[in-house]
Amino acid sequence: MAGFYNMDQKEVIRIKVKKCDGKTQAEYKKFSIDPQITSFEMLQGILAKAFEIRSDFTISYMTYDSEGQNVYQSMLSDWDMDAAFQCASEPYLKLRVDVRLFEDLEDWDVIAPVEIPHHQLLGLVDKHSILSAVTGSITHKLVRTVSSMQRAMGFKHPENGVTKPAKLPMCDTEFRNYLDSSGFMIKPNEFRQSVYQGGIEHSLRRVAWRHLLSIYPAHLSSKDRFRYLKCKEEEYRKLKEEWCEKLRNGAVMEEVKHVVNMVEKDVLRTDRSHSFYSGSDENKNTLSLFHILVTFALTHPDVSYCQGMSDLASPLLVTQKNEGQAYICFCALMRRLHTNFTTEGSAIMMKFHHLSELLNMYDPVLYEYLLQNSAGDMFFCYRWFLLEMKREFPFNDALHVLEVMWATLPHCPPQHEIKLADAGYSCQLLSTSPGSPTFSQQHNMYTKLLALRRGGILHRGTQTANSTASVIPRANNNMSTYSLSHCDDVRTNRSSISSFDTSPSDREVRDTSFPKIDHSVTYCVHQKLDNIQKIDNIRHVLKNRQLYEHFSTHFRIIDIKATDTSPKAAGLNLITPKTLSPLASRYLPFRAETDKSEITKNLSDSLISDCQEATEEFGSSETTCSLFTGTPVRDPSKLPPPQEFGAGNPFLMFLSLTLLLQHREFILSQEMCYEEIAMYFDRLVRKHDANHTLQFTRQMYMEYLRAQQANVKEDEDLEFNLNF
């Protein structure tokens, strides 16, 4: 929302607008808006209404260039609008509207003037008369329906028009409470819980994000952390210098140059409208982003570079303001997210599937509608998953959403240190020719990996050998791989990719867990169905009582404490780090060290009360449910457990669900087809309201955790029975 961050609290912005269409004389209008509650979209709506513009138009605002000359700068987002408000000159902020004329507008999908999300408009109608004119175009009936809908959903803004976070963002003083006098992080779960509820003050993000992303091993004093960080920064500097040096000398193979080119193309267009990356293409921050991504790609050939990574790294650099530190954070983030970028796409496919399952549970009407319109696969949510919502909110709000989401993930410090490069990496691998014959095998492997990642095709030829394996063991393998992927040491042990000289068979098994996308069109479609089918199978199998025992050795060992003494579990304790605490505590931002009963207590005490508050404030969930279905049958305990749901990020699933529900009415009322839905959400890039979205997501997420917690308890009872 405009003016939420870093803004002088101007109560009102007076605006003078000049409208030009290149044919008729310019028109002028004046009005004023409240910067606290006006989004860019609303401004578009106001302007469209004020000048009765029925076609597309662009907005620009007057500002001063470096020489103090008046210039019009285009306004394309909330970000730009904030900037315009900031530099609004007295007595008016001068805007210019340029209209484009078309012969045939009737059929053109002009979304701008009518696309304002209703919940934003409706929240404003009562108090801000200037906007009531805008809503005039919406029929009374629709307003009433949407309004009651949104009230029930909790989507309607509270009376003041601004959704406030559940608590104030964490400040430095509060943060110190989670550390002891020597700077040991003594309350990691309380820390996460607080971030979950209110986020972090911007000035504290630099420090707090490092904890949130688990870059430090456990039990470090502040002095030790400082030394660790310096040591890691130095390690990064060397990694970077090595490839830079080789690149300067031209002593690198083609694949390396290709990576460099790909990264260069993307960093030059990543968040360049943000002041941090603005200026010339050679600005130092864009260059830092470039270094981070190339270093990561070359030192992690199994992941390499993939579009989208620059979006993930950019906020880290903005927050850390230091290339080395941002790189360390990026490595920590990619420990969890690398599966999103692997070419077989199993993690992403699973997210698509889980979201459709979730939507079906919460809003069967919308789900059915999407199914009928070929959108049941949820492919239009791809960007949400790949970038974890980074592009869906205005930049500063996205930082807030990211930290809240990270706070829901298990605290998983690296056992010894965070790895900045794959185990088998050495800079000699970058060279055009390998030195010694023994080295050449590794070199070949490295080159192949980069090439494979570039093309996105993984050893097609070797597929047949594994394709005969039954679904269950493969699924099993896949599940355990990403269930445990949070933990560095486990990943390293399990992944053959980290050392290049091992046989590729392990990876093939993992990669073929879900078939790869082929060039052939029909294969694509079939495969999509296949994947979903397979996930279904897995889930079915999981639910199958007969196989319960078999799977308990693979799954429940994660859920149940390592102290579990059952013989079935004991045999597999080796692959489960002892630090793994019970399922719920790994996913809930509350104490992990406590015993089970206390966890339940904790849950009910703090988080559920938070949930209840939200429910009271925003209307009961039962109403919501009955509104959608007529039959309140939503049972989140039937959803996959947290370490599995959304491929390990259940909160992201609920965030996605919220975005869908916020716009369900519009999608349904406009009878949008797949393409229109995709286009609609494209237009909403950086326009969602973070606080409002989070508020509602938290509510549903808590409901889910509570239900899952009950499941764990049931499972424990079952386990107990099985043991006797």
């Binding site: 078309f102 053109w108 579009q307 069109v521």
Partner: protein
């Protein structure tokens, strides 16, 4: 992604006439300006630092051609090679494909050539394929692909060819208009398509040579 519902369908227009729909797909290497060309055509805008497309984007634009309304459903795809395998979902059933390269970067031209080959193999013979050399505004200093090379390739392969600039707007609307003419014309008389392409190519390239 299925959009059979909308492919080349016609539906009643606002003025009572029929509106023809056409699916168009933009293909080409990463960073050649696919999204920018689409935005220039659809919104007349050129954002200076257009972000990398994640997944794919969809846009529409309706134009009037030969007294007939034609609505383009434009699929703008992600360019990175890693996403290549998803492309068939987008070009399947497309009436037109615009294969974009950066005239200042020879590698992107090679990639365009392989796109054209794939399209020729995988799509119907009457699919209108356009070879678009983008970023003509930078060509005076940085050109890496001679116009002649691209034109010869286009003529041999029966493509419409244009050098254009999403930034300056040069030849962008003309290129889409030409596609529209081909599609509308094809609809009127399906047998007359093959010969016109080369003529189209010459027109387009001549308009592109003004730079």
């Amino acid at each position: 992604m299925s959009n059979s519902r909308r492919n080349s369908g016609t539906r009643p227009g606002a003025a009572g006439g029929r509106i023809q729909q056409a699916k168009l797909v933009l293909l080409g290497d990463q960073g050649v300006g696919k999204s920018s060309l689409a935005l220039r055509f659809v919104r007349g805008q050129f954002p200076e630092h257009s972000e990398a497309t994640v997944g794919a984007a969809f846009l529409t634009q309706t134009i009037l051609v030969q007294g007939q309304s034609l609505k383009f459903d434009i699929w703008d795809t992600a360019g990175q090679e890693r996403y290549h395998s998803l492309a068939p979902m987008y070009y399947r059933g497309a009436q037109a494909a615009v294969v974009v390269y950066d005239i200042n970067n020879a590698n992107t031209f090679n990639r365009a050539i392989s796109w054209v080959r794939e399209l020729r193999q995988q799509t119907a013979v009457n699919t209108v394929i356009v070879l678009a050399g983008n970023k003509a505004d930078l060509a005076s200093e940085h050109r890496a692909v001679p116009t002649e090379d691209a034109r010869v390739f286009a003529e041999e392969t029966g493509l419409i060819f244009a050098e254009c600039s999403a930034k300056s707007g040069l030849a962008v609307n003309e290129m889409f208009m030409m596609i529209a003419h081909k599609i509308v014309g094809k609809h009127a008389s399906p047998n007359s398509s093959q010969g016109v392409q080369l003529t189209g190519g010459e027109e387009a390239s001549s308009s592109g040579c003004k730079c």
